[in-house]
Symmetry: C2
Subunit: 235 residues, 2 copies
DNA sequence: TAACTATGTTACTATTGTTAACATATGTTA
DNA sequence: TAACATATGTTAACAATAGTAACATAGTTA
């Protein structure tokens, strides 16, 4: 029994240490409103933010619900009022990522002549850049793991992203709708950029002896995979 | 204290159930040699096999060291005589996968005229097929997560795989060595096939409204990304 | 004010990866 | 063959996790 007590005390001691660390971390956070000390204000949003941060810092496996709780300053049971499971929270992180990616794609496309090789390759550049900037989130966005019952919901947001590319390719081809031709032209572009993203974040770009300039690679692939300017009519 | 005893008994009861399940699983395994009942024979190999199986069945997250132990019929501490950690075991699964992929690539290339579009696209087909057949292992093979101190070792095996493609592209281009031209031609091919693999295993091929035939996609991309037959001279 | 609902908490369960201390089999050498 | 060293197992325990249940409080509405 004495042993048990010692054990418990040791646990609490450790907890104390951990708490202090996390407390320090919390201070760096932006908007902390302790308006009631019991009810949190925006726990849901802050948990997602904490998850994003932790995932990018320690990878999706290094992320734990408990850590997110400590960051948000709540008990480990609190998240389950807002998310049905850890995976459910991760799904929201992924969804958020997809939405941000879509917005960035649209933004970068709009900065070039619409329907040009430049605008299309700009979309690709943004795509790869996102992957490199937030590799773990990116991996999460495109994985069926987790996301238990919400794959369709996620896919819907993904379709939004893809739609940006499709629209731009349609403009390039002079098509008014997203025709089969548009889709079949756009798909290899996506594939290419997607593969490049994964190779980049998985550190595989140096297996080849020559350094790969990512932006060059995107542009080159775009040029090769799009039909040349003078053949831009329906096959 | 009574409570504690009840708790312990319940644990043992559960363990009993689990043991039976796993026992049933074990029977389906092929080579079980219980030559000494203490020393196992080939625990290392069987743990890798168990890991492969469990990973493909429940995903890399659903895989637990404990499950692998139960499958192999040893205690949870036993693996640590052969692997320094769970990740270390996973690294061996990944390495094994890369080796098998490389062998399959070489095999399929050899079944076509060397240095032809057919042999090159055959390599791509095998690549994607592997990903679809063993998606979780494939993901593991190309992820920097885990694999703690052994990334270089893994990369070396990966270079072997890539070498198969490089050699075939070199033949296509009529080059004797793996020149810069060869590498720059092969790289987008790899990217394309790699992206296609990930999109396929992540269930993203149906975001486009038209069904994607993977083999067609590989062939088409190969044709577009390789310089045409009549331009096969150094740029 | 009273009742209801949303959102927290504490305490607990079951499970995991990993280590330490111990035990036994196998191979090598006196 | 006996003694030892090494490789390879075991049990018991630790620290951490995801998730649940029972309870508590804040905010909202009748």
């Amino acid at each position: 029994m004495l042993l048990l007590l010692t054990y418990v005390r040791r646990i609490n001691f450790r907890k104390g240490i951990r708490r202090k660390k996390i407390e320090a971390l919390r201070m760096t956070g932006k908007k902390i409103q302790k308006k009631s000390a019991y009810h949190h204000g925006d726990l849901r949003g802050q948990l997602i933010a904490a998850a994003r941060r932790l995932i990018e810092e320690h990878g999706p496996d290094g992320f734990s619900m408990s850590d997110a709780c400590r960051l948000a300053g709540v008990s480990t049971a609190a998240p389950y009022r807002h998310f049905s499971s850890k995976n459910d929270l991760l799904t929201d992180v992924a969804k958020d990522g997809l939405q941000r990616l879509g917005a960035e794609m649209e933004q970068s496309a709009s900065e070039h002549p619409r329907g040009s090789i430049e605008s299309i390759s700009a979309i690709g550049r943004v795509y790869v850049a996102f992957a490199i900037r937030e590799p773990h989130t990116f991996r999460l966005m495109f994985s069926t793991r987790s996301h238990s019952g919400r794959i369709e919901e996620l896919k819907q947001v993904g379709r939004g992203c893809y739609g940006v590319l499709l629209a731009e390719v349609a403009r390039y081809l002079g098509e008014d709708d997203i025709t089969e031709w548009v889709i079949k032209t756009a798909f290899p572009l996506w594939t290419q950029v997607h593969g490049l993203s994964f190779l980049a974040i998985d550190g595989k770009l140096d297996v080849t002896s020559f350094p790969v300039d990512i932006n060059d690679a995107v542009l080159l692939a775009t040029q090769r995979l799009l039909p040349p300017q003078d053949e831009r009519q329906k096959p």
